[in-house]
């Protein structure tokens, strides 16, 4: 009996490793594609030359100072959003939970708008701090409302969407009244990786790392919560600490991601749905596999954003919405 169980564990572990390797390979290929594709496309042979240390200065600048930071930002933001989405879906037991749909990204973006237009914040630390503060406030509200039982499931999602709409209205009013702020954040407010703020990227790296570690640490308590608070307590986990930890992790991850790239929805929604068939409802595995998958998904969206209007480009948030809407509709149909 134990032997079969162990064997089953081993096979599922090897399947997991296989899936992880496959996802990592796809991610690596997408990273290369992201370096090569854009308004000025680079041929693979030219890329090889640059790697070998030859190639023109112009190509060096393009690859290492424009495309590489952009690719790095996509990988970081994609992974952070996937972690946040997995944590939120696991904790709220709501298949539509997503930092974008719950309004957390909008909260972060709103805080940055206020900080930039009213308090003249321009420093990377200031932007990151205000984004995390905004994300934390909305996450706390979501958790409080969800816990009170007053608002669960679809109600919470609807409220999140309504909140996002409000924020977009207020943001457009603020930016119209304050043209200097408008210039600073026109591209950012639609969710864009076109010119990620490198300073913000370095500032938020510890936050993303902290959020990721917390996410892995929280995987087991979240699985225990699925059995109900009483059983979870019986298994030795603290439901309140698990929820508070999830809130902190989500606020750090979403705040950091929004500070880098602006509000990007739907990535956190899609990733858990894509990987659950391979991982089962095991949060630790979902977070592990979700890392390369989330990064790859945002890279795909970013590459599409550069391709569909070539040589111009779309904000990546728009592409993510177009990819994510069918997933919502599928979830709704499956539930109905």
């Amino acid at each position: 009996m134990t032997a079969t169980l162990q064997e089953a564990r081993r096979t599922s572990a090897s399947r997991l490793l296989g899936a992880l390797a496959l996802a990592a390979a796809i991610l690596a290929a997408l990273c290369c594609a992201s370096l090569l594709i854009g308004s000025r496309s680079v041929s693979p042979s030219a890329f090889a030359e640059v790697l070998a240390g030859r190639g023109t200065d112009e190509l060096h600048t393009l690859l290492w100072e424009v495309r590489l930071p952009r690719t790095l930002a996509a990988v970081l933001v994609g992974a952070a959003l996937a972690w946040a989405g997995t944590l939120m879906q696991g904790m709220t037991r709501n298949p539509l939970a997503d930092p974008g749909l719950l309004g957390v990204s909008s909260g972060a973006a709103f805080a940055v708008t206020i900080a930039m237009s009213w308090f003249g914040v321009r420093s990377a630390t200031g932007i990151a701090a205000s984004a995390v503060a905004g994300a934390a406030i909305v996450t706390a509200a979501v958790l409080a409302l969800g816990l009170r039982g007053a608002a669960s499931g679809t109600k919470l999602i609807l409220a999140g969407v309504a909140f996002s709409m409000t924020v977009s209205g207020v943001q457009s009013a603020i930016t119209l009244l304050n043209p200097r702020a408008l210039d600073a954040m026109r591209a950012w407010s639609a969710g864009s990786l076109a010119s990620p703020n490198i300073g913000v990227l370095w500032q938020t790296l510890p936050l993303i790392a902290f959020g990721g570690i917390l996410a892995f640490a929280l995987a087991r308590p979240i699985d225990a919560l699925a059995l109900g608070d009483d059983t979870a307590r019986g298994l030795g986990s603290h439901p309140f600490l698990a929820r508070a930890g999830t809130g902190i992790a989500a606020a750090c991850l979403v705040g950091a991601a929004t500070a880098i790239a602006g509000p990007i929805g739907f990535i956190g929604l899609m990733v858990p749905h894509f990987i659950r068939p391979f991982t089962g409802p095991n949060t630790a595995r979902m977070i592990l596999i979700g890392t390369p998958v989330g990064a790859a998904l945002l890279l795909v969206a970013d590459i599409l954003a550069r391709v569909v209007l070539w040589p111009g480009e779309l904000p990546v948030g728009v592409v993510a919405a177009a990819l994510g809407a069918p997933v919502i509709l599928t979830v709704l149909r499956r539930r109905a």
Binding site: T154, A159, G169, L177, V308, L309, L314, A325
Partner: protein
């Protein structure tokens, strides 16, 4: 308790203009207060601006006894915008009331279920295909786009019905997808089209002039008459399909006509002023809370006119000299209202 006699609990008699329902005492005063408030907002809209006028000066201009300059300012510049706010607000409020009654869903209003986004897609396509479309072409495109979006939403929520939150979520998903399509279209077109469409997309009454307003008001008047004729039947449908059948009403045909009227009201307004969110959603709720419930659609039209007039006044004057689009005001105020409604609605 004076306000318990709403249509659901009343005997199944078609309410007509001379109402068969017992009007609660004070009903007339509530209506009168609503109309008086609307007149006050209208006066304020005519009086405020760079040239601040006193109420007596406005009155003189309206009756034709003021000097030429004041006449021009009030009648040619400010009156069209104020009238547009009232007419569009009333149209949106009435349409929202019809949609919410037919879907039996307090969130089932055209702005929530993707109609506005679809109408924008239609207008964008019209701007791209036809060089300089007139109002008729824009309105038709908005109508077709809105209908297509609504049809998609209905298709995706067919299994769960239109009464629940799934319907609203399907609308949100379709809106997100269409919004992405719209952004792509705006980026794809030339600068002139993009500028024209982005002014429209904000939802604004800034540029309302008589010559543009006349065809819109004409179209709205025709649809309003048709709606007024059909609305008494809506009260019968409200009693339930079976009872309505038993009372001799052709339920499906009537429902289709009513949807047609509501869609046309929204589409004409959207084509003229751009997508103005949340008036259609909030006006029926506000009407139920403040006005007698004997004529819900009329009451929603009145509160809609009030809401949009006040929002437009804020858009034009609260941040003077900068004008912000009225769409931004309604989204900001209505969004707060919607968030709180969803969270604290008792189920």
């Amino acid at each position: 308790m004076t306000r318990t006699s709403h249509p659901q609990s009343s005997p199944p008699v078609a309410p007509t203009q001379h109402d068969a329902l017992p009007s609660p005492p004070g009903a007339r005063w509530r209506w009168a207060a609503g109309v008086a408030l609307l007149c006050a907002v209208l006066l304020a809209a005519l009086a405020a601006g760079d040239l601040a006028l006193s109420p007596s000066e406005v009155w003189a201009a309206l009756t034709g006894t003021a000097n030429d300059f004041t006449q021009t300012v009030v009648l040619a510049w400010r009156l069209p915008r104020a009238l547009a706010a009232i007419a569009f607000g009333a149209a949106l409020g009435a349409a929202g009331s019809i949609f919410q009654t037919l879907t039996r869903n307090p969130l089932g209003s055209p702005d929530i279920i993707g109609f506005n986004t679809g109408a924008y897609t239609g207008v964008l396509l019209a701007l791209i295909i036809i060089p300089a479309p007139g109002f008729a072409a824009t309105a038709t495109a908005a109508l077709l786009g809105g209908l297509a979006a609504a049809a998609l939403v209905l298709l995706f929520s067919s299994r769960s019905g239109v009464g629940g939150n799934t319907f609203v979520l399907a609308g949100i998903a379709i809106s997100a997808a269409l919004g992405a399509l719209n952004t792509w279209l705006v980026y794809k077109t030339d600068t002139a089209t993009a500028t024209a469409s982005s002014v429209w997309a904000a939802g604004t009454l800034d540029n309302t002039r008589w010559e543009l307003l006349q065809p819109v008001l004409g179209a709205l008047a025709v649809i309003a008459v048709a709606t007024a004729l059909l609305v008494p039947k809506l009260r019968i449908i409200e009693l339930g399909d079976d009872l309505a059948h038993a009372l001799g009403l052709r339920v499906s045909a009537t429902r289709l006509l009513l949807v047609g009227c509501a869609v046309a009201l929204t589409a004409v307004t959207t084509a003229a002023a751009g997508p103005i969110m949340f008036v259609a959603l909030a006006a029926p709720h506000l009407a139920r809370a403040t006005l007698p419930r004997t004529h819900p659609t009329l009451a929603a039209a009145l509160t809609g006119a009030l809401l949009l007039s006040i929002a437009d006044w804020i858009a034009a004057h609260a941040f003077a000299p900068t004008q912000i689009p009225v769409g931004a005001v309604t989204v900001s105020l209505g969004g707060v209202y919607l968030t709180l409604t969803i969270l604290f609605r008792k189920r």
